[in-house]
Amino acid sequence: MRARTRTTRRVVVLAAVASLGAGLLAGCADDSGDDASDGSSSGSGKGKTTITLGLFGTMGFKEAGLYAEYEKLHPDIKIAENVTERNENYYPALLNHLTTNSGLMDVQAIEVGNIAEVVATQAAKFEDMSKVSGVDKSKWLDWKWSQGTTKDGQTIALGTDVGPMALCYRKDLFQAAGLPTDREAVGKLWAGDWNKFIATGEQYKKKAKAGTFFMDSPGGLINAILSSEEEKFYDSSGEIIYKTNPAVKDAFDLTAKAAEEGLVQAQTQFQPAWDTTIANSKFATIACPPWMLGTIKGKAKAEDAGKWDVAVAPKSGNWGGSFLGVPKSGKHVKEAEAFITWLTAPEQQAKLFKVQGSFPSTPSAYTMPEVTGAKNDMTGDSPIGTVFSEAAKTAPVQVIGPKDQIIQQGLTDNGVILVTKGKSAAEAWKTATKTIDNNLDK
């Protein structure tokens, strides 16, 4: 009897050890098990197919009711999303999943800052969306389409929104400084040349309301200038040219000049102190894609509603935007392809813009009432849709590269910000390039 209880106990212990060990191995082996629970389980059960989306931030498809609409159109399809709040957490995980071919959703979102790297290194893991029926290349802005396409012509992801950049300005502060306030006239002040923009800033400073600056931050300025260039950090053959490209050095020096002259605030964008300067009306202009109006609205005081307006930037550019791709190892590749084809069609993008402010990457949406009639509390009755449409259509087809973000962050956070602290432009350039070169060096 005693021997039996011992044996039982031993069996229990062994089982415990074995299960611990097994749990361990399972933990290492495969994490697609979790995804399967919301992914494939429904494949058999009720005869419904569940398409899963891996997204970051607030892309707003669900909020705009697009999933519900598609589910109504296709009763056998269910859509589930898995959202990671910040792209800097989402992207490394996506890379891990792609390189190990596990844990991928049926649809994966890719941010514009990462698209070049994914196109360059992970294209083999994605379906070619250009071959999917119903996908028509001509519907998209040229530059948006080409950003998601490899050199061999494989389109790994379809464009969702874009960030056509205009300049938002404070009418009241412009008036106080003796500058025009009409959006046409303001656009003419600096049309075609960032130097004119800085000249306007110098003019602003002469009669500026005390304590205000012409622009929000050096980072915002250099980003705006760079995103209006056709070539910035890479040339068309994929070589890194940021140090020798005169356009980059000019953008850096012009921003440094603005910082030296005190035209830009000594702030870093999206830091709490920068947020406060919006609330306290400390600056008169900011480079402004449609989503930035949402940021301003979120940070500004209610009494500043209607005091902003949107003018055309000296040169148009793009800031932000996303893509949707279908990994080959997904469980429902065909269904996922059909779904994102529908989801990125102009009609859906226009609906998304209305709810979420994500600007469509398909020009035929620009004439739809959701876009032409768009209004924002901060800009009153201004036809913002028209201004942004114009910017989207005139933005350059920019050469983007895998390490754009690292280079730009170096130029901004380890570069021009130093000029606001009294360093010379040359010193700041040296610190920035040293940091960038170290960060790029494999």
Partner: protein, 336 residues
């Protein structure tokens, strides 16, 4: 393994009062059965202990040893996060380049200075607080819990609040300083203010924890030591110096070792202190610690090989620090 069945006495067969050895030789089958049992128990005795301790070792193997060895292997290669299986052998290059990597040595220096700025005041304050709490106080449990509250706060939450407090333009600390005529300090972008600010988060978080450890040790000091010191005419201060401190020596050593380890791993506070600049630790890397630099190379710049070499170099540096610590503590113990 309390009872050994192979040697335990079998029941007596002949009804005698004294249990004796069995007179008759057991049958062949019985002998085989016993031998089998015996072998089984031998095996049990031999292998069960391994089974009992195996969970730890399996876990250690999977999450301790394997990553350590694999990191070492990866550090000899050029590996990118975009293709972790695609390794290119570069030998010791990732290590040799560290010698003239200004950013690494800058980070090492920052780790050291932030470590000193955060650890020394932290332990001194902890000692003082423990001494105060050691007196009979009303609501002493309340104070003790209050001391531990920062320790229970998440680093992220604490750091984000400190960022607001240390704001240059709208921060509360600069606002308070302007009353005493001190101009706005750029806590994020100037070297020493930023290191001080990062250290202050560490200090805030860990002082109470160390104070409680000191307090526990103080309460273990026999009361009669103080009484006899008082009889000899020692003041409170003298009592602290000559009774409390010597008795706390092992505890102090313990907290120094733990704080040193903690200081060498400082990561979350500097990462979140200027979150928009990512892992670069400020515009001029003025508060980038080694942990942060490692993270930047591995996860931001995606150079897994370089990051692995940095990790191993940190490991080696820590071993050296550990040896120094050990030697000093032995000296201290010998001298006492």
């Amino acid at each position: 393994m309390a009872t050994r069945h192979d040697t335990a006495a079998p029941p007596a067969k002949e009804g005698g009062a004294a249990p004796g050895r069995p007179a008759a030789v057991p049958t062949e089958a019985e002998q085989r059965r016993r031998a089998r049992l015996s072998r089984r128990w031998q095996r049990d005795k031999r292998w069960s202990p391994y089974a009992f301790v195996s969970p730890f070792f399996l876990l250690f193997l999977a999450f301790g040893l394997f990553p350590l060895v694999y990191t070492g292997w990866a550090s000899l290669h050029q590996v990118e996060l975009t293709a972790p299986t695609d390794m290119e052998w570069v030998g010791m290059r990732n290590y040799t380049r560290i010698f003239d990597d200004d950013f690494f040595w800058n980070a090492a220096k920052n780790t050291l200075t932030i470590g000193i700025i955060s650890t020394v005041p932290q332990l001194l304050m902890a000692m003082g607080l423990a001494h105060i709490l050691n007196y009979k106080l009303r609501a002493s449990t309340f104070y003790r819990v209050a001391m531990l509250a920062p320790y229970a706060t998440s680093i992220a939450a604490a750091s984000l609040v400190f960022v607001l407090l240390f704001g240059r333009d709208y921060g509360m600390i600069n606002w308070a300083l302007h009353f005493v005529g001190i101009d706005a300090i750029d806590w994020q972008n100037d070297k020493w203010p930023s290191q001080f600010a990062v250290s202050s988060i560490v200090i805030w978080r860990w002082t109470g924890y160390n104070a409680l450890i000191y307090l526990a040790a103080m309460q273990a000091i026999p009361q009669d030591l103080y009484e006899s010191a008082a009889l000899d005419g020692a003041s409170r201060w003298k009592q602290f110096l000559h009774v409390t401190l010597p008795s706390l020596r092992p505890t102090i050593l313990f907290t120094v070792v733990v704080s040193t380890i903690g200081a060498s791993q400082v990561f979350g506070e500097p990462l979140l202190f200027d979150a928009n600049k990512g892992a670069s630790g400020g515009a001029e890397h003025q508060f980038q610690t080694l942990g942060l630099y490692l993270y930047e190379q591995g996860w931001v710049n995606q150079h897994l090989g370089r990051a692995s070499a940095i990790a191993w170099t940190m490991f080696l540096i820590l071993i050296v620090v550990g040896i120094v610590n050990y030697v000093i503590s032995r000296r201290l113990r010998a001298s006492s």
